[in-house]
């Protein structure tokens, strides 16, 4: 009897223990792989954006220099074309907003060899840093971009591995790739830099050397020798294995080539996953299981003792039989366990095969998506630049021609155009935001006058349909046919984008010139906007597909996003889009948008009317913002006192008498919310408006001392709204 109890408990213990161990290993492995996958995805996105930006950088004077046979001038040219892309400038000063955060650049000649920079300060490498220039050379120029790695020896004796991207430079004059631009970047940091920081330690295995600064040299040697012994087929596939102990802790190791297919030597990313946590937890659990088992055993012994003392005599014969049974059962169980283990192993293999298959499929989809993402990101940058052109142009005009400022009417019309363009630039940025976060659903729909919209769009797109077309020797005219249509409900900047996109589309459809007719008319419950071109028209296939994202007939030039964006915006407005097209005759887009309902508008207007005269304290560390706020507030008849920072603001507040405080959030020294808290301690009912550049990400509930939170950049109407909101008595719960 006693033997039965003991053996059952023992078997149960072993099985429980094994299950726990298995679960842990599976979990850690899955955890590790998902972390790695997430980091690879981030890496791929970054690379897609970087290569696209590099491609654009080359499309400049740099290409002209190679096309016109002036490679000796190329570094001097790059010095003026590339500094924005470089993180470090003279003296090694960091530029935080640098577009690419590149560290150095070099050019390759037609043979793939590095064209030496004319002097050390060309090609911008941090002072004292050195690398072997030959590491950048390629055997011949590639048709497509290449990713590689180069070891940089730091001035302080340390080492860093920088990522390089090679962008081929195609010469139209030679009709071939004649050179390449190599840009070096600090590679994205995978996992944490130190083992204590997250459980993944990342490194790079390059040319038989392992670069893993977070590990001790001994540990690095140990892993490197392990990697050296790996057969090539394991190198090709992602390789995971339970590595030996490193500094006394077992680690999982993951190996993946970061630059598959590159003309540069293969570089493998090595990720180590410390199992210290998992082991500790497992050890804890093991003790728990042993403890419970021991208790069960004790109870069983007690029970068996009682039972055996009561039934000892009649059961003695039985016991012999039972003992035999137990032995048989143990055997059966052992056999079962072996089978079970085999099944487990098979299952794991199957699952791995399935996962591999899925990963491969995902990879293909991801690749496609990344390409689109890179294009889209650069498309947005391009749109933003476009929006900046009229702003810079008209500003320059105002500054440079002394007469322009005297002509008040002209001045006002320039300023209006600048304002429109600036608003569009802001909406491009918000589109970028839309791109990475889900829509918040707080859309500002107001009344939009279609005729005004048409006139604005015609004016804004003039450089494209008039000037550029003229430069190409064709004439395009736009004929507006506007009728009296009540305002439609919508977001003006978005609808303007719809119209600009349609105009651009029409221009592209008329390579030999023609007429664009823009009509507005009213229907029973909606306003209709018609854009008709006299261009090439669409085939039935194009007509069917033209609203799909990434569908384009413009080849390299188009992102394929114009019309799909139009479609998206119109849908968002509850409108409808229709298109008629005839090959050789032209295309007409019809967009109908529901009318705006009046009563809602009246409320908004009342809300934004100037309030009574107030004494307002404005605290902001940025002088332009301060001046703008003061001007806007004084225009509305308020008295304004200005402070440059938190402490100064608090001092002025205590010294004077105010009805309202408007403060920036991020300021050196005392921040805006800290100052607000201090003010509320003195006068709890003082209304405080907090301006912030991170409005979307802040929660008002988390800053109780603030009455109204407003995101920058702030317009006059939004400012008035914020003030009236701050002054209206708070709803008491």
């Amino acid at each position: 009897m006693m033997i039965i109890v003991v053996s059952i408990t023992g078997v149960a213990l072993i099985i429980a223990q094994r299950n726990v161990a298995e679960n842990f290993e599976r979990n850690t492995r899955a955890d590790f792989q998902s972390q790695i996958a997430a980091e690879h995805a981030a890496r791929d996105v970054r690379l897609a954006v970087l290569t696209e930006r590099c491609r654009q950088l080359v499309e400049s004077r740099i290409r002209a220099a190679f096309e016109d046979d002036a490679p000796d001038l190329v570094y001097r040219t790059a010095q003026t074309e590339l500094p924005d892309a470089l993180a470090t400038r003279e003296g090694g000063a960091e530029t935080p907003g640098a577009v690419l955060n590149a560290k150095f650049y070099r050019f390759l000649d037609e043979k793939g060899a590095v064209i030496p920079p004319p002097a050390e300060d060309f090609g911008a490498l941090e002072r004292g840093d050195k690398f072997d220039e030959r590491d950048l050379a390629l055997r011949g120029l590639p048709e497509d971009h290449q990713v590689g790695f180069v070891v940089v020896h730091k001035a302080d004796g340390g080492e860093a591995v920088d990522e390089v991207i090679v962008t081929p430079i195609f010469s139209r004059n030679a009709n071939a790739v004649v050179a390449a631009l190599v840009i070096g970047f600090k590679p994205i940091a995978l996992g944490g830099d130190t083992p204590a920081h997250g459980r993944i330690t990342a490194g790079l295995w390059l040319n038989g050397r392992l670069h893993m600064p977070a590990l001790s040299p001994a540990a690095v040697d140990k892993i490197a020798s392990r990697l050296d012994g790996l057969p090539p087929h394991l190198l090709a596939s992602g390789f995971t294995s339970l590595s030996e102990d490193i500094d006394g802790v077992p680690h999982l190791l993951f190996l993946k080539q970061t630059n598959p297919g590159s003309h540069y030597p293969p570089a493998y990313e090595v990720s180590l996953y410390s199992q210290a946590d998992a082991l500790a937890r497992q050890r804890e659990l093991r003790w728990e299981i042993v403890g419970i088992g021991f208790l069960v055993l004790l109870a069983g012994l007690g029970l068996s003792h009682i039972l055996s003392s009561r039934l000892s005599a009649p059961v003695e014969t039985l016991e012999v039989v039972s003992a035999e049974n137990v032995v048989q059962r143990e055997r059966a169980e052992a056999a079962l366990e072996v089978t079970n283990e085999e099944l487990h192993a098979r299952n794991a293999e199957l699952q791995k095969a399935l996962a591999d298959l899925e990963a491969a499929q995902q990879h293909v989809i991801q690749q496609e998506r990344l390409r689109a993402l890179g294009q889209m990101a650069s498309g947005i940058a391009h749109d933003f630049n476009n929006a900046l052109v009229p702003i810079l142009g008209f500003c320059e005009l105002l500054q440079l021609s002394p007469n322009a400022l005297q002509d008040r009417k002209k001045c006002l019309s320039y300023l209006e155009t600048i304002q429109t363009a600036a608003k569009d630039a802001a909406s491009v940025v918000s589109r970028l935001r839309e791109f990475y976060r889900a829509n918040t659903g707080e859309e500002e729909f107001g009344p939009v006058q279609l005729s005004r919209l048409v006139n604005q769009a015609i004016k804004l797109t003039q450089p494209r349909w008039k000037d550029q077309a003229q430069a190409n020797g064709v004439t395009i005219s736009i004929v507006p046919q506007l009728s009296d249509v009540p305002p439609v409900r919508g977001e003006e900047s978005a609808l303007r984008e719809v119209l600009t996109n349609l105009i651009f589309n029409a221009v592209d459809a008329m390579p030999a010139g023609g007429t664009i007719t823009i009509r507005t008319r009213r229907e029973s419950d909606c306003g209709v906007l018609e854009v008709a071109d006299s261009g090439t028209g669409m085939t039935e296939e194009v007509r069917q597909r033209c609203l799909e994202p990434f569908f384009t007939t413009k080849g390299e030039r188009g992102t394929g996003l114009g019309l799909s964006m139009v479609f998206g915006i119109v849908q968002r407005h509850g409108g409808q889009i229709d298109l008629r097209s005839e090959l050789g005759r032209g295309t007409t887009f019809l967009i109908s948008l529901p009318f705006f309902r009046e009563e809602k508008f009246a409320v908004v207007a009342a809300k934004t009317a100037p309030t009574k005269s107030l004494r307002i304290l404005v605290v902001d560390d940025e002088a332009p913002v301060r001046t703008l706020l003061a001007a806007a507030l004084r225009e509305d008849g308020h008295e304004v006192e200005l402070a440059e920072q938190g402490v100064d603001g608090l001092r002025r507040f205590l010294a004077g008498k105010f009805d309202l405080v408007i403060t920036d959030k991020a300021m050196p020294g005392m921040s805006g919310d800290q100052m607000a808290t201090a003010i509320k301690q003195v006068s709890p009912h003082m209304p405080i408006v907090l301006l912030t550049g991170f409005g979307q990400f802040l929660d008002k509930e988390k800053i109780p001392s603030i009455d109204v939170l407003v995101a920058k950049p702030i317009g006059v109407v939004a400012l008035r709204e914020a003030i009236s909101q701050a002054l209206s008595p708070a709803p008491v719960a």
Partner: protein, 214 residues
Amino acid sequence: MRLPLFLPIVCVLLLIRTTCLADTVIEGHVTLPKSHAAPVMNKRYEIVTKNGVVATDPPRAVVYLEGKFSKPANLPVQQMAQKNLAFVTPLLAVQAGTKVEFPNLDDTFHNIFSYSPAKRFDLGRYRSDERPIPSQVFDVAGLVTLHCDIHEHMRGLILVLDTPHFTTSDTEGHYRLTGLPAGHYTLKAWVDSKTTKEQPVDLKSGGTLHLDFP
């Protein structure tokens, strides 16, 4: 004794008179590559690069007489104006040593530069009111490609020639060179960056020679 000395001088003078008075002319037709662009009503043309060949579109040829000619001290100043974000004369032929001005007739900035071996320069950003008008002297014969730093699409060509005798054909290829000296020369027709046709010519004073470039 005086007569033998006097005669050659008269002869030389007579020779000079005849070359000056009787105009020596070559005219003809250069067969040009087919134009890619749809026929355009106005006289505009532009510089295009296709398959590694830089040419005007619709195509035009520059026909010139090659030989040893002395350089006059003062060459007339030429202009390469920019209007409507394009060069008014996208292809300009000049004699080596000519000063070319680059007036900006637009409301915006232009920044014309060249990386071509025959003439490297960068005029920087300038507006229509820039005085003196930005200019360059083109001393070395060859093809100079003009770019604008601000308007990537702007393209212009200056063909610098070692001869005072040149003309630009119309888009049909017809040309006419007048005021030529008698003698043995090579007549060349520049068609694009990769193609220059040539034929030997024997010019007799006062005649009109018809010569086609097939």
